[in-house]
Amino acid sequence: MKYLDEFRDGAKAAILVAEIESLIATMDVPRDRPLHIMEVCGGHTHSIFRFGIEGMLPKQIELVHGPGCPVCVLPMGRVDDCVNIAERPEVIFATFGDAMRVPGSRKSLMQAKADGADVRMVYSPLDALAIARKNPAREVVFFGLGFETTMPSTALTILQAEGEQVANFSVFCNHITIVPTIKAILDSPDLKLDGFLGPGHVSMVIGTAPYEFIANFYRKPMVVAGFEPLDILQSIWMVLKQIKEGRADVENQYARVVPDKGNAAALYAVSRVYELREFFEWRGLGSIDHSGVKLRDEYAQFDAERKFAIPNLKIADPKSCQCGEVLKGVIKPWQCKVFGTACTPEMPLGALMVSSEGACAAYYQYGGVRQHAAAE
């Protein structure tokens, strides 16, 4: 597969690993205090585990798996709202696949479907709009979630619906923004991070400028990284070089896809359709200011939150949940008291076990529960 296979080449991997090893050797990193590099994005977490990258790195580098998985950080209250909408007989609820398993306080969308709600899995919001056209007597609600990567797709779909005057289509908007999240991580007093791998696909929309505060104010290196294993290794190498040279810059490793200025058409659609919410709830991290968007008044007819009276309750995470600490790199997934016992992918208690790229789910599936427990 073009533009994929070349970036999975084992021979080039070996070259990068050798470079990283010789660089680290010149850097005087104590064994008991390794460098902590956070990959913000869930897609990076998935790649790291799928290709076994962590095991290829020298022990002086530790990867910290960040909160950039929009499925994982969906608060229970919002899932309850989804289920509430989906259970209405006139509604067809269209959602991305991985959102179906997130537990609400009563049930997940998957369970709601089993109980008779018309919940349908779609690959694209355009497919949800197509369902609306085909079913004029039903109300189609699309569950819009994702970071800035996915915001333009939902926005463009709403603009398309507006142009065609589709009256039975609306969006339950749960889109969130990445910058406040990174800022919250950086402001956390438990912070132990030395550098960041930036979210490559969020950046293809917003460009690289929004991350400058990380380098300028917090003085941490930030490399916008692609998702193939070579991209990730090269980005780690670039972060190391910055640390070694005492620099803190925003660099773009994923230039083949990420334009430094971002995507004008996507940003325009986003600014037309959405405005920032004052604050938004994140599972495991609590409330973060200006971290979510909602539909502007001009698009009220496409806003499921206005079309349907939803409970909109704030439901606390279970007390045993330590997701917040894992997200900030304070503890490792297997150090959480309920990892693998009360909290498993089949019965997830917290955010990070829910989706297949949550750090805990990834460790459980790819890293082996037994492996790390044995190493303790």
Partner: protein
């Protein structure tokens, strides 16, 4: 079978309405017509033609094939009923034949129980029965008994099939999931994930167009060839629901061994790879309906591969890994990139992701 051909004493009934109704399940003439028209006509064999409540076989004749009876059953509820590469009928016949064949048995006779939703098109049933008949004939097995029920609209999804099969295992053929030993080689007979991908695609939810077809096929011939060339084979299984990863974990657990596979050696069609990349799925967990995983002693691996590659259902056969004396029950994969990851049992269902 040394039985004089049975001359039917009455002509077969026919159904003259387009759809199935509850009366077709009532046990009366309408039901006889349905069974005759759809099943008896298609399956057309002596045992079935007798229309007794049971098929009867001479034990001594069965014993001529081997020293153990193999007996298996499976239900098929696939949606959609027709998909590229096959249909529920072909799937059912192949599935049951393969469950027998991977135990080292020669598949002989099948039963077919059908639960039909009221309102289903009769023509659709004829097509499926025809497909079952052709598949059975090609595989040299007979469908000798069956049952038909009709249920109310909504009580089942168009058609559910349950097929049960019997076969006989030759003396000396010993296969078991607990028999894998460190040093054994893991072989597969071809490209993985085709069936799972074809079904997902055929459901249409993702609006993807692919040329991927189900690999649904009866594997007895391939397995006979394999066992002939490599009589020391420890274990065979077809990686259906749950895919290759699930079977490997079952073996590692049953034999208390470790297994490591090599991603670069694991054959997956380019289109299936692309399909998985787009949706965020892992081909190791996709179902296969025309594949076997074979655990083979190292000194027989070459002969096993040569035999499979000479057979039409094994042209892409390859060695994908080894059994080790590592951590018992652990399955790992050396990735194309050079790293190592654990290949665990599937947790829940694989869902397409956006992250």
């Amino acid at each position: 079978m040394n039985v004089a051909p049975f001359i039917r004493s009455r002509p077969l009934g026919k159904v003259h309405v387009p759809t199935v109704t509850l009366s077709h399940g009532g046990g009366g003439k309408a039901m006889k017509d349905l069974i005759d028209d759809v099943f008896v006509d298609a399956f057309d064999n002596t045992a079935l033609a007798r229309l007794e409540d049971q098929a009867r076989f001479d034990l001594a004749e069965l014993a001529a094939h081997g020293d153990r009876l193999a007996f298996t059953t499976d239900s098929f509820v696939v949606d959609p009923l027709f998909f590229p590469g096959g249909d529920i009928g072909k799937l059912a016949v192949c599935g049951t034949i393969n469950d027998l064949a991977v135990g080292g048995a020669r598949p002989l006779y099948l039963s077919c129980a059908a639960i039909i939703e009221e309102g289903t098109m009769i023509d659709l049933l004829r097509q499926i029965a025809g497909s079952m008949a052709r598949t059975a004939k090609d595989a040299d097995v007979e469908i000798v008994t069956g049952d038909t029920k009709v249920v109310q609209r909504g009580a089942c999804d168009k058609l559910f099939l349950t097929t049960t099969g019997i076969g006989v295992i030759r003396a000396g053929v010993i296969l078991g999931a607990h028999l894998a030993r460190p040093g054994d080689v893991v072989l597969v007979n071809g490209l993985l994930g085709d069936h799972g991908a074809a079904i997902l695609c055929a459901r249409g939810d993702m609006a993807l167009e692919t040329p991927i077809e189900s690999d649904c096929a009866p594997l007895y011939g391939l397995i006979e060839t394999l066992l002939g060339a490599a009589p020391g084979v420890r274990f065979l299984r077809d990686p259906t629901r749950g895919g290759l990863a699930t079977v490997l974990n079952e073996i590692a657990d049953a034999s208390q061994v470790a297994i490591e596979i090599d991603e670069a050696a694991t054959p997956v069609r380019e289109e299936v790879k692309a399909f998985c990349e787009i949706l965020g799925l892992d081909p190791l967990y996709l179902a296969n309906e025309g594949k076997i995983v074979a655990i083979v002693p190292p000194d027989e691996a070459e002969a096993a591969l040569a035999a499979m590659r000479a057979h039409p259902l094994g042209t892409r056969a390859g060695a994908i890994g080894r059994v080790d004396a590592g951590e018992a029950g652990r399955v790992t994969m050396r990735t194309v990139f050079g790293g190592q990851r654990i290949v665990d049992m599937l947790v829940g269902e694989q869902l397409p992701r956006i992250c």
